[in-house]
Symmetry: C2
DNA sequence: GTCATATACCTAGAGGTCCTATGTATGACC
DNA sequence: GGTCATACATAGGACCTCTAGGTATATGAC
């Protein structure tokens, strides 16, 4: 049971900003976030997660165990496709991009999200400005 | 295989407004919606579902197969408690109300929801007014 | 050089939530 | 007496996220 070198790294990463919020909330939304992030151009998985975290100022943490299965799923559904390539840091990466279908899906899910949050807002009794 | 009388009722109900949206989005949100609906006073399960649907102008449909398990869950967690009673229509009902814990939870989940939607909004590139 | 770190990928299994489909019961109304 | 809406309930499946584990390698510090 030797402590492997990469283990400590991971733990410190997690301990860092762990907001512990949004345990279930992320449920239907991760796909939308990924689609939106890819709208501006191709990106690889790890970078997508970082981009989302940065955009939300670490409010949302994308776990790798959610991210990679999601990318896999979405590729299978024809929303994304990927090519192997090299990152700026000279690393082997899978560069994902939206397909036409993915773009259409992004539109749909964005609209759904808008409707959904409006509906919830009505229940919460927020004044729509 | 005779067609049972209550079947048709149910089907027409469903066919009515079925928006088919929010398949996954509801995930972490149903509890919040129920808590908020009960904030104004005791209510029974069926009425809670109707209230949410009305508040959202049928944008959100609360299925009974989601509703009753949710009420059960939340009762077990000490967020709600209920008493058997009679409705205005003279029917046997379980009248639910918030516990102190439920009220605290409502606050927490409302705050979480606000943060979460803001985070998503940032990714979607919406201007925060 | 070699050690630690960050980058970059992957997966199995657990846990949780929602929905579909099904079932029962009864008050009100025609 | 039949139909409808109300009011409860639950088993099973589908789906998604997270935890926890695993591998590989470029880069910079020492």
């Amino acid at each position: 049971m030797t402590r492997l070198p990469w283990l400590r790294t991971r733990l410190t990463c997690i301990r860092g900003t762990m907001p512990k919020n949004t345990p279930e909330l992320l449920k239907g939304t991760l796909d939308l976030l990924i689609l939106k992030t890819l709208e501006s151009g191709p990106m690889h998985g790890y970078a997508i997660a970082r981009a989302i975290e940065e955009a939300t100022e670490q409010a949302l943490q994308i776990e790798e165990g959610s991210l990679y299965p999601a990318l896999y799923r979405m590729t299978n559904r024809g929303l994304l496709r990927f090519e192997w390539g090299l990152s700026a840091a000279n690393r082997r990466i899978k560069s994902y991009r939206l397909t036409a279908r993915g773009r259409k899906r992004l539109k749909l899910e964005t609209a759904n999200w808008g409707q959904f949050t409006q509906a919830v807002a009505r229940v919460l009794g927020e004044q729509p400005a």
